[in-house]
């Protein structure tokens, strides 16, 4: 493999110089021939020799480039990325193997030696060519899998068996998707590619980045997946897959500043400033403003706050999608929590000429919930009830013990939801209602609520009839059922809110 790489590293400039010299030479020769022997005018001769120079250089460059490309074929890449398991080595980018570092070449030489040993041992045993390739593949640190056109795994190298964390008999001979539960980022998947491959060329390569392998117990690995297929005359496809593990790399991305959290940070900074100055105006200008201007000021302030809340929702949606929504489950008195949540919303209901009626059974067992998140769910449900009720009728909140869970319902007598769209109300950005243009909202509230309740191990549901109203309900677990799963928080004095926390009494000096 070293000899494979070295010419690239050492002689790429030499080749470029040779190509240039050779094409120049051909131009000069052409010029000499044209003027001396065919005796055309110097102008025509100059033009034609320039054209010849150009054509010759293109042809030779193409050949040299093809050669360079060929030497960066899949196997070489596999070897290079296979060295990723040696963290002390500074790795070149997979796409940039022209200039590997000295240490890297040494490491590569070691790996090539390993392969060499494998090759020698198989030769001595006098095994077939097939076995020879298998031995090579087995000694590579990159997981490699071969899949037949019936999507059965026909071969997996040692690294693949280790990587998939399954016993060999659960991989080889098994249906591919049973052994590997893969999720792809974006639209292009292995399946869609194979589908298009049926009519495509006889040979093709493809690479997907950030592919995820879902293992047992929520464990996951992330990697770049390289695929290569050969189609034989019967249109049978033999697919070779190589997994280039990137778990550490991508996880670090996810945990550091992902794009979304960076965007959220950048959006929040000007928002903070706007809200701050609006407040200064509110505090100091009021006396000089007329009532219309005062209302404008109020609208501005309310919109800035709405924007801040929306920005936070985006972050929560991103968390849900990265499976990174964490709850702080604690033992809580459900009656107290819901009454507090309703109290917060009562003011808003009054503004819209509505009343929230709270009807919660006494003596309900305590629940294991994340209070701040349940507040958010209640805010969303009550807010919807207010928005989609155009009469003065009451909004009813009820809580009962049901099938070993605590069930809370929020009912209104509003405009209801049509039966053909009711299945979508918990979808992201889905805003079903025909009144969506007249009623504000982002289409994230119910999506977030569902994620929060799911994370609690409960269920959320809706029953609705058009023009008669809707009832949304959700369940949360009883504390004693989940007490053993709740880690006792060491920070009991922390007071948590949706947008931060404070340790209580920290500055109290008696």
């Amino acid at each position: 493999m070293i000899t494979y790489l070295q010419p690239l590293r050492e002689s790429i400039w030499l080749k470029i110089i040779l190509v240039t010299l050779f094409s120049l030479l051909s131009g000069v020769i052409a010029y000499v021939i044209l003027t001396k022997y065919i005796t055309v005018s110097p102008y025509v001769a100059a033009c034609s020799s320039l054209a010849i120079t150009f054509i010759v250089s293109v042809i030779i460059s193409k050949r040299v480039a093809d050669q360079a490309m060929a030497s960066t074929n899949l196997l070489v890449r596999a070897l290079i990325i296979g060295l990723d398991d040696s963290p002390e080595i500074e790795k070149p980018d997979a796409k940039d193997i022209i200039k590997p570092s000295r240490e890297y070449l040494i490491k590569l030489a070691e790996r090539a030696m390993d392969i060499n040993v494998a090759i020698k041992s198989t030769n001595q045993a006098g095994l077939s060519k097939m076995h020879f390739y298998q031995a090579v593949a087995d000694s590579i640190a990159v997981p490699i899998i071969v899949v037949s056109s019936k999507q059965i795994i026909t071969y997996a190298n040692n690294a693949a068996i280790k990587y998939l964390e399954l016993s060999p008999e659960k991989i080889i001979g098994q249906y591919f998707y049973d052994a590997c539960n893969l999720s792809f980022v974006g639209g292009s998947t292995l399946e869609s590619w194979l589908e298009s491959a049926k009519d495509g060329s006889n040979k093709q390569n493809e690479i997907w980045e950030r592919v995820r392998l879902n293992l047992a117990e929520d464990k996951r690995k992330q990697f770049d997946l390289a695929a290569h297929y050969i189609k034989d005359s019967d249109k049978d496809i033999e697919l070779t897959l190589a997994f280039f593990d990137r778990t550490l790399h991508y996880e670090r991305d996810d945990h550091d500043l992902s794009f979304v959290s960076l965007a959220v940070h950048e959006l929040r900074t000007p928002l903070t400033i706007m809200r701050g100055y609006i407040e200064v105006f509110e505090d100091e200008l009021t006396e000089s403003l007329n009532s219309e201007q005062t209302e404008f000021m109020h609208n501005m302030s309310a919109s800035a706050q709405q924007l801040a809340a929306f920005v936070s929702s985006i972050l929560n949606v991103a968390r849900i999608e990265e499976n990174a929504l964490y709850l702080h489950l604690k033992e809580e008195n459900i009656k107290k929590v819901l009454e507090e949540a309703c109290k917060n919303m009562q003011l808003r209901a009054r503004v819209h000429d509505k009343n929230i009626v709270v009807n919660i059974d006494d003596n309900l067992p305590t629940v294991g919930i994340d209070k701040v998140s349940i507040f958010e769910v209640m805010n969303n449900l009550i807010d919807n009830a207010i928005k989609y009720t155009h009469t003065k009728e009451d909004i009813t909140v009820k809580t009962t013990l049901k099938d070993g869970m605590i069930e809370t319902t929020v009912s209104d007598n509003g405009i209801g939801i049509a039966s053909n769209v009711i299945g979508h109300v918990f979808d992201k950005f889905y805003r079903a209602h025909k009144s969506k243009n007249s009623i504000g909202g982002t289409g994230l509230g119910l999506y977030l609520s569902k994620a929060i309740i799911d994370a609690h191990g409960g269920t959320i549901w809706v029953k609705s009839k058009e023009d008669q109203g809707s009832t949304f309900g959700f369940t949360v677990p009883i504390y004693s059922d989940i007490a053993s799963q709740i880690k006792d928080s060491q920070n009991k004095e922390i007071v948590r809110g949706a947008h931060g926390w404070i340790k209580n009494h920290t500055l109290y000096r008696g």
Binding site: H255, S261, V264, H265, L267, R268, T269, L271, T272, I273, R275, G276, Y277, E279, V280, E282, D283, E284, L285, T294, H298, A302, Q305, Q306, A308, F310, V311, S312, Y326, N344, L347, R348, V351, V372, E376, N379, N380, D383, I386, G440, G441, T442, G443, G445, L448, N491, I494, V495, R496, G497, A498, H499, G500, W501, I502, K503, H505, T506, L507, Y508
Partner: protein
């Protein structure tokens, strides 16, 4: 979507209070934000020093002349997180209470560490300067922190 909550329009009555002798160090690189915070806090009687970089902030904090340190996380030089770590390591008995004021959402990996080292964590965009002053007033007076403050109503 958390509904648009109605902000009661209090109008022009944010009293200017007498100095209360409590010293606050505000480490914040966004000039407008530190101006707004300093203005609101000074009107409420606090003695406010503002600094821009993590290195200056750490040096000032080490003198331990402050009662409260408001610390942004994304600041030039040393990050707020590094400042926090440094203070926690070398001056565990620091008198000042450290409140992280940031627009960065707390990520789960650093959460435990920050909870151990700091005394509060507030998302700036979710609070107006006046709400921030109320939280600090409550901290100082030893009143029970009202949760609805951290989730502004």
């Amino acid at each position: 979507m958390v509904g648009l909550k109605t902000i009661r329009f209090t109008g022009g009555n944010m009293d200017i209070k007498e100095p209360n002798g409590i010293r606050i160090l505000c480490i914040e690189d966004e000039h407008f934000i530190s101006e707004l915070y300093a203005r609101a806090l000074r009107r409420a009687g606090y003695d406010v020093t503002t600094l821009v970089s993590g290195d200056d902030g750490l040096r000032a904090a080490q003198k331990d002349n402050y009662d409260i340190i408001m610390l942004d996380l994304m600041i030039p030089g040393m990050t707020g997180f590094e400042v926090l770590r440094e203070l926690n390591k070398h001056q565990p008995k620091l008198k000042a209470k450290i409140i992280i004021t940031t627009n960065l959402d707390q990520d789960e990996t650093s959460k435990d560490e920050i909870e151990k080292m700091a005394d509060g964590y507030l998302i700036k965009a979710e609070f107006t300067p006046r709400q921030l002053v109320t939280i600090i007033d409550d901290l100082v007076s030893g009143k029970n922190i009202n949760e609805s403050l951290i989730e502004p109503a």
